[in-house]
Symmetry: C2
Subunit: 405 residues, 2 copies
């Protein structure tokens, strides 16, 4: 019943989007300003970075969403509007300009920025661009919108699904940016999700907060938690289902749809991590509880040593054991099994905490694929978790070693 469809952030009824080049980024071929608009005011949930240093747009968005509703998203790339003395005023003004062009309330605008930290954000190109941006909103503007939030991202990141709630066809889709900037400073992640499901702001927030624990919070490109990370979901109710006000079948169907899209975006973000050549997916099973499973999966995905080994297609499983050992989770390391998996096959490299003989040739073939599974069995329970990351490459160093100046 749940089916993947096209349309990204415009897949759901009543949503239009656009992305233009307004002049923040020097390269005129790169879009740098995105708008997403709902024809109806929509319930809106959000989660924000836990970094104590937070971009001014996050603070403004948080205030705007205090009532649980919004109708539009405005987001620029090329400058994070973070650590600037006048950042709040700039973000507020950017919201007001978008609201004016759309004929909505300023408080119904989600505002976001991504790019270099600590450089003043000049509103001039944004103010000049917003009228065109709003005028160009279309129901097939999803790719333009996805492009407008990209920085050093190498692929457009969007996903959408259709599903049913009580016989009503619903849609949910989203766009993401991650792991690159025009002057890259952070593995800044921004995700904007839209849906026509009818759901209360409270249940929408509950769904999002629960989902991100197993999705976006399980992605790491380089261990640096951004100052500007934000995920928002707009739900405008146009699917016509009975408003979801509590848990139950409809909520569960919504959660499944949300999770399908967020997992797809997670994989895109990790696989397109700065300089990455491979997507790493660590799947932990047999954990005594969910927290242990997640802690272990994330520790493995974050290990610089393992990431470098994966770049070299080196089956250096000792680094997996090492990362499990320092994860902070209570694990009986003498029970740990490790395998590597990809389109080329599966190979067991460690059983009960000790190495087992394996074919280096097969291991090399498996690890030379673009998507690598790192399977960790803890043999201590039933909990499972997945984390997504990427390899550590020369290009990561290059991208981040010489950008700002």
């Amino acid at each position: 019943m749940l089916k993947t469809i096209g349309g990204g952030v415009c897949a759901a009824k009543g949503f239009s989007a656009n992305g233009i080049h307004c002049g923040i980024r020097k390269n005129r071929l790169k879009r740098d300003l995105t708008m997403v608009f709902s024809s109806e005011r929509a319930a809106c949930a959000a989660v924000y970075t836990t970094n104590l240093v937070q971009g001014a747009p996050l603070k403004v968005t948080r205030a705007h969403l205090a009532d649980g509703y919004a109708q539009a998203v405005i987001c620029n790339s090329g400058n994070a509007n973070t650590c600037n003395a006048d950042g709040i005023q700039i973000a507020e003004k950017m919201s007001a300009l978008a609201a004016e062009a759309l004929g909505i309330r300023t408080e119904d605008v989600v505002v976001a920025s991504t790019g270099v930290i600590g450089e003043p954000l000049d509103l001039t190109p944004i103010a000049a661009g917003i009228p065109d941006l709003a005028a160009g909103l279309t129901a097939d503007g999803n790719v333009r919108a996805a492009e407008g939030i990209m920085t050093t991202d190498t692929i457009v990141k969007e996903a959408a699904v259709t599903f049913d709630i009580d016989g009503h066809t619903c849609r949910l889709g989203g766009i993401a940016k991650g792991s690159g900037m025009i002057h890259p400073n952070m593995a800044t992640m921004l995700v904007f999700i839209t849906t026509d499901v009818n759901i209360s702001p409270e249940m929408l927030q509950k769904a999002l907060s629960s989902d991100v624990r197993g999705t976006f919070n399980m992605v790491s490109v380089d261990g640096d938690t951004s100052t500007n990370d934000m995920v928002t979901v707009l739900a405008n109710g146009l699917a016509g289902n009975a408003r979801i006000e509590a848990e139950g079948e409809a909520f569960a169907a919504f959660m499944r749809a949300l999770n399908t899209v967020t997992v797809a975006l997670c994989r895109m973000i990790a696989g397109d991590g700065e300089g990455a050549t491979r997507l790493l997916e660590c799947r932990v099973s047999g954990a005594p509880d969910l927290a242990t499973a997640r802690t272990v999966a994330k520790s493995v995905i974050c290990s610089s040593l393992l990431k470098a080994a994966m770049f070299g297609a080196d089956a250096n499983w000792g680094r997996v054991l090492c990362a499990i050992g320092y994860s902070g989770a209570q694990v009986d390391v003498d029970r740990v099994d490790v395998s590597f998996e990809s389109a080329a096959g599966t190979i067991s490299v460690c059983r009960a905490g000790s190495g087992v003989p394996f074919s280096e040739e097969l291991a090399k073939a498996i690890l030379s694929e673009k998507e690598i599974g790192i399977l960790v069995g803890l043999n201590a329970g039933d909990a499972v978790a997945t984390a997504w990351g990427c390899d550590l490459t020369y290009d990561y160093v290059k991208i981040n070693g010489d950008y700002r100046t």
Copy 2:
């Protein structure tokens, strides 16, 4: 009164050392087996990695040091003897062979290994080498000993000081390895310190445990806590001072000497981190308490993004703010000041959480030096802390991307 001297691990009275090539490493020009010997049984303190996956030698050493005394160190490079089913027996046998050659008890041997994880350690070359190793112990064998524990380390790491306790001339010195292996798996750190100070095992352990919190625990090359990290101190009492049994002036003098040597070794380990071109020293001041100061300093030093920026001599201070923000410490980010410092000068780049105009030219000159200070002022108290790290370079990726196979 405290003075830096030569002699490393042999600086203190009664200690001799040696390092040979026995055949664990393929390159015959590289020493791979080290021994340090005290003419007298010595009080011995140790700290071990907190990784749950621990090398077999650590487990054996821990058992040997249960009584607080030891007389010799045996350490091989080229293989970590970790995650091997027969690891404990191998480490125990290695200790017994060393003890036999020295005519001491097996329980008085500190045994250590460093290198690849999960490959069986063949005792044959070690057993064949130990008689020569022991026969070649000399009071000027410190450099050979330092070489025998090196893996991909590019410089010999040793330091020593002389100081007085109650008119008795004391000496304390040590050797370290860090950040490289012949088949590198871990930024494995091993430190062996020797001193002729007369001190009880309890006070020796107290001194070491206290010291490492501000020294070795404040070093990071890549965030991967090794399975084989270990620091030991042997104190044989030959300086003739009244035995240190409690805190007081003598203990304080000992602590200062120990700290001088451990800080010197920390700087060498960080500056010689895998692939590193620069030593980074983050000095945090104005923290409300020591824990906050240390947490912030370590978070900054561990940021992959900052490390890559330092490689590129890019004054990307937003990454310092970002790392402070996600450190977990409670910091008022609107009060944070950041400066960069080196032999070429000092430059303020951020005041009260916002950027200040600065000369990019001067910043580039400052960051192009080999030793970079990252000065963070929290303006919230009097506590200070220092952490040491290195830049993230192409060579780090190269070293760790293609080694094991």
